[in-house]
């Protein structure tokens, strides 16, 4: 007898109704009582149709419900397990969407947790082979590189990064002018953004950024007592008093694009609501994104397992605040939840955790091309140079080795369509291997995905028009 069982899925409830998130398709369906009950029954154990008839006597209704669940592959025959998701490697050349240009590897701050300067750094930025500042010539070569590698894309994105990006402002400014001119010549739009610690913002720089519509992300950890704990100058002095007035100046003058704050969360500072309120209401940021610090587990600022649990609870509270604001059609700046909602809405099912090495590449100060900005300058993660182009062989090897199909631990996780194993840099720092899945935050990822699914379900019931914004062109993810 044919026995039926539930396929991979995650059931959740929102607005008092049952929903299901299907894996690996990443489809979200609302269930009626019959479908919910049948799915839960078959999730508990496999049963034949005859056994099911004993539990659901209305055979016509049972068959109709079963038919629909089979149709979307929420259930299936035990003897016919679903085919393994094929390991498809994208065809080269894959168009480059975003190039992150590390215009300097120097910084005027000495943040204790920094992945570029701190104890877990990959590249020697003091005595290594890379120059401390990118030359204008290398930057121009990088512009030619991104224009060429962006293929048929109408827009090429250039993100300036560091070190502290603004320490090389002259090259940055001239590169923007050059890229604009070259883009106009070949009929391609070039979009610019940068990340900065705000210490070097001056009226003329702010003016320039506003006039040139440069997207700005500010690295800041929160109110004074939080910011000054890790984000310090060389002499240990906190940076809050220096950056706060400059940021307010920037937010006042630069109105051409929304400006976001990017917060690094550490073991000590976990009052997320307080940080959020300070940065939005008191400081004036449009959006705030939070990221747990990337570090090996032995460091004092590393977030423990209990810390991840605490963080999830606080994220959930802020996410529900986001929900209520969105239901009332008011803006809420918790960008983590918005990014995840967009991916849930589209139903993305990722073969790779991020675009690194694919649609996103990092460029070191000497023009070496790496996986992403976090690996820029690392020979072990090099994928070519801006002069000679992408090393297709190295890129293919990388993609072969990092496909989610290789991550055995992920093959049984319902959150893999979104997570796909997580950040390569995080894995490299934790386990010394970019190909490893980040098992230390699995519970957190599943918990957070579950929260976002609930928010998504609530919005689909209470304000579906809000979700329509995600039907538009993809928004570009900030680089952190």
């Amino acid at each position: 007898m044919t026995a039926w069982a539930a396929r991979e899925h995650h059931r959740f409830e929102a607005a008092g109704k049952p929903f299901v998130y299907l894996v690996p398709s990443a489809a979200i369906f609302a269930l009626d009582a019959a479908a919910d009950s049948l799915l839960q029954t078959l999730a508990a154990r496999a049963l034949t149709r005859e056994e099911l008839v004993g539990m659901f006597p209305d055979e016509t209704a049972l068959d109709a419900t079963m038919g629909e669940l089979v149709r979307v592959q929420a259930i299936g025959e035990v003897n016919a397990p679903p085919a393994k998701t094929p390991k498809v490697i994208p065809l080269a050349p894959f168009p480059l969407t975003t190039m992150v240009l590390n215009v300097t590897n120097q910084c005027n701050l000495s943040c204790t947790y920094c992945y570029e300067y701190g104890e877990d750094k990959i590249v020697d930025t003091e005595n290594g082979k890379q120059p401390k500042f990118m030359t204008e010539e290398t930057a121009r070569e990088a512009v030619e590189f991104v224009l060429k590698e962006s293929g048929d894309n109408r827009v090429a994105h250039i993100t300036f990064f560091g070190g502290e990006t603004l320490m090389n402002f002259p090259v940055l400014a001239r590169t923007i002018a050059y890229a604009r001119q070259r883009g106009a010549e070949i009929g391609k739009e070039v979009d610019f953004s940068l990340t900065t610690n705000a210490t070097l913002l001056k009226p003329d720089i702010i003016e320039f950024l506003a006039d040139n519509r440069v997207g700005v992300t500010i690295s800041i950890d929160g109110p004074k007592e939080v910011q000054d704990k890790f984000r310090v100058f060389n002499n240990g002095a906190g940076s809050y008093e220096v950056v706060a007035p400059k940021i307010k100046e920037l937010l006042k003058r630069h109105r051409s694009r929304p400006i976001g704050a990017r917060v690094t969360l550490t073991s000590g500072e976990m009052n997320i609501k307080r940080i959020y309120t300070h940065l939005t209401e008191e400081m004036g940021f449009w959006e705030v994104g939070f990221a747990p610090v990337t570090t090996s587990p032995t460091r004092g600022h590393a977030i423990s397992e209990a810390g991840y649990g605490d963080m999830l609870g606080q994220f959930r509270d802020l996410a529900y605040e986001f929900l209520e604001a969105s239901v009332a059609n008011q803006h809420h700046g918790f960008s983590n939840v918005k990014e995840t909602l967009e991916e849930l809405h589209k139903g993305v099912s990722k073969a790779f955790p991020c675009g690194a090495g694919l649609g996103l590449l990092g460029v070191a100060t000497d023009g070496d091309v790496a996986l992403c900005h976090r690996f820029a300058g690392s020979d072990a993660h090099k994928l070519g140079t801006v002069r000679d182009g992408i090393d297709r062989q190295a890129q293919q090897t990388f993609l072969e080795q990092h496909h989610v199909a290789n991550k055995t631990d992920c093959s049984v996780c319902w959150a893999r369509p979104l997570c796909s194993g997580g950040c390569y840099h995080e894995a490299h720092t934790r386990y010394g291997d970019t190909a490893r899945p980040n098992l230390h935050y699995c519970e957190w990822i599943r918990g957070w995905t579950d929260v976002c699914l609930q928010i998504y379900g609530e919005l689909s019931e209470r304000n579906p028009a809000f979700l329509a914004q995600f039907d538009e062109e993809p928004t570009k993810e900030p680089v952190s």
Partner: protein
């Protein structure tokens, strides 16, 4: 669909893609994008004769195989009650002791309904 309501865009695409094509989905793997599986004839040949006219890819390499193959095809691909027991419903364990037919064929026992 009446019991399920697509909520996100992927769900809507699945509903569209599976409209009127439930049979294709129910088949193992489902859908036209599934990679070619190994040679596996399905259904009887048009002409009532031993062996197969052509496999599903139009190939003829696997036709008119020896008796072990008839045994296989007659109780999986096309059930033919004169030769083998009904392994789907009444004798699911019939070949469980027969891992390799060349070696273990003696272990396939008689079945009395």
């Amino acid at each position: 669909m009446t019991h399920l309501k697509p909520v996100n865009r992927k769900a809507a695409r699945i509903e569209r893609a599976t409209d009127n094509d439930v049979v294709a989905l129910q088949r193992r793997g489902g859908g036209a994008s599934v990679p070619q599986q190994p040679h596996f004839p399905v259904g009887c040949s048009l002409v009532f004769s031993p062996g197969w006219e052509a496999d599903r890819t139009g190939g003829t390499a696997g036709l008119c195989q020896p008796v072990e193959r008839d045994l296989f095809d007659c109780h999986i691909g096309c059930y033919w009650p004169a030769q083998v027991p009904d392994q789907l419903n009444h004798a699911p364990d019939w070949t469980s002791k027969c891992a390799a037919a060349q070696k273990d064929w003696r272990k396939i026992d008689l079945i009395f309904p």
